[in-house]
C-alpha cells in the first residue's frame, strides 16, 4: 500500500532521499492545480442562489481561481452539489459525476446535499455521499457565500497536499515513489 506523502510548498521532503526534484515539481503542480479549480455547479435548489452569489462580484469566487463555472463535466474539476437531491435526480447526478475527468473533487453544499436536510421523505436522497464521494461538506440552509469560499479553500488545501508525479507510471518505473 503506497503511503501518501505530505508535502509543503517550500522545502524538501526529507523522508525521500534523492527525491528532491520530484517533490518540488509535485508541489508546483499541486499549486497550479489548486489555484485553478473550476467548479461544476450542480445547482439544484435554493443553495444554487447562494452559489451564484459567491460567484458574483461581492464574494468573488474567481479570486480563488474558480474563474468560470463550467457546466460541462469534461471541463471542470470540482462538482459543487448545491441543493436537494431527489432520488429522481440522483441518477443524472451520478452520471455527470462519472463523466467528470480525474482528478475531481466534490463539495456537498448545504444541509440537503450533505444529509438530506429537512426533507426526510420518500423522495429525497439522504445525502449525496450515498452516490458520490464527497470531500467537503458545507452546513447551512443555505450556507453563506463565505462558507462556500471556506470550503473551496479547504479543497485547495487538500489538493495542495496530493502527490501528483509520484504516482505516475514513469515514477514507478524509476523507483522514485515510496513503496
Amino acid at each position: 500500500m503506497q503511503a501518501q506523502t505530505e508535502q509543503t510548498e517550500f522545502g524538501y521532503n526529507s523522508k525521500i532521499e534523492g527525491d528532491v526534484v520530484l517533490t518540488t515539481v509535485d508541489a508546483a503542480l499541486a499549486w497550479f492545480r489548486k489555484n485553478s479549480v473550476w467548479p461544476m455547479p450542480m445547482g439544484l435548489a435554493c443553495c444554487a442562489i447562494e452559489l451564484m452569489a459567491s460567484g458574483a462580484s461581492r464574494y468573488d469566487i474567481s479570486r480563488f481561481g474558480s474563474e468560470v463555472m463550467r457546466f460541462s463535466p469534461r471541463q471542470s474539476d470540482c462538482m459543487i452539489v448545491a441543493g436537494t437531491v431527489t432520488y429522481k435526480m440522483a441518477g443524472s447526478l451520478k452520471r455527470i459525476w462519472d463523466q467528470m475527468v480525474e482528478p475531481k473533487w466534490c463539495i456537498a453544499m448545504g444541509a440537503c446535499a450533505s444529509t438530506g436536510g429537512m426533507y426526510r421523505s420518500y423522495a429525497v436522497l439522504q445525502g449525496v455521499d450515498n452516490i458520490v464521494p464527497v470531500d467537503v461538506y458545507i452546513s447551512g440552509c443555505p450556507p453563506r457565500p463565505e462558507a462556500v469560499l471556506d470550503a473551496l479553500m479547504k479543497i485547495q488545501e487538500k489538493i495542495g497536499k496530493q502527490p501528483i508525479l509520484q504516482n505516475t507510471v514513469a515514477a514507478k518505473l524509476l523507483n522514485l515513489s515510496e513503496k
Binding site: 432520488y87 429522481k88 440522483a90 426526510r120 421523505s121 420518500y122 423522495a123
Partner: protein, 162 residues
C-alpha cells in the same frame, strides 16, 4: 362548491367553461382512507374576468379508481392529472400520455396515499433509480407551540405524542 357524479365531470367542466370559468386553477385529490368512496378529486376553476371561483368535488370508489379526463376542456389538465395519477393512482380515461410526473417511471408505489409512510419504502430499479427508507429520528420535526424560547419550541428530537 358542488359534488358531482364522477363520470360526468368532463361535461360539467365544459358547461362551467361555457359559463365563463375558463381557467383551471388546480386538480387535486384526497385519500379518504377508511371511507367508502376512497378518492375525492377536487377541481378548482376561476373566471379570470370577474374573479369568481368555483370548486367541484367528485368521489371515486377504490374498485373503479378511474374517471374521465378534462383535457378536452383545458389542455393544462394534462400535468395535473398526471400528478394525481402519480401520487394517488387514479387513472384518467382519455388522457393521451398518462405516466408518472414526479417519481420516475417504474416506481411501484403511489406516495401520497395515506397508507404510504412518510419515510418511504425501499425500491430498486437497477440503472434507473433507487430509494431507501429515510431515518426519521423521532418523527417529523414539528414545533411545539407556546414555549418560552425557541429551544423549547423547536426540540431537537420530538417523539410523536399520540
Amino acid at each position: 362548491m358542488k359534488v358531482g357524479d364522477a363520470q360526468k365531470i368532463a361535461e360539467v367542466c365544459r358547461a362551467a367553461k361555457s359559463l365563463g370559468f375558463n381557467y383551471l386553477v388546480d386538480i387535486c385529490s384526497m385519500d379518504n382512507y377508511g371511507d367508502d368512496p376512497r378518492w375525492t378529486v377536487v377541481y378548482h376553476l376561476r373566471n379570470i374576468v370577474t374573479g369568481a371561483e368555483i370548486r367541484f368535488k367528485t368521489d371515486v370508489s377504490e374498485e373503479k379508481s378511474e374517471l374521465p379526463s378534462v383535457i378536452g376542456v383545458w389542455r393544462t389538465a394534462n400535468w395535473h392529472e398526471r400528478e394525481v395519477f402519480d401520487m394517488m393512482g387514479l387513472r384518467f380515461t382519455g388522457h393521451p400520455d398518462l405516466r408518472r410526473i414526479l417519481m420516475w417511471e417504474g416506481y411501484p408505489h403511489h406516495p401520497l396515499r395515506k397508507d404510504f409512510p412518510l419515510a418511504g419504502k425501499p425500491t430498486d430499479l437497477p440503472g434507473v433509480a433507487f430509494t431507501r427508507v429515510t431515518p426519521m429520528e423521532g418523527g417529523p420535526f414539528v414545533t411545539i407551540a407556546g414555549g418560552n424560547d425557541s429551544i423549547a419550541r423547536e426540540p431537537r428530537v420530538r417523539n410523536p405524542e399520540d
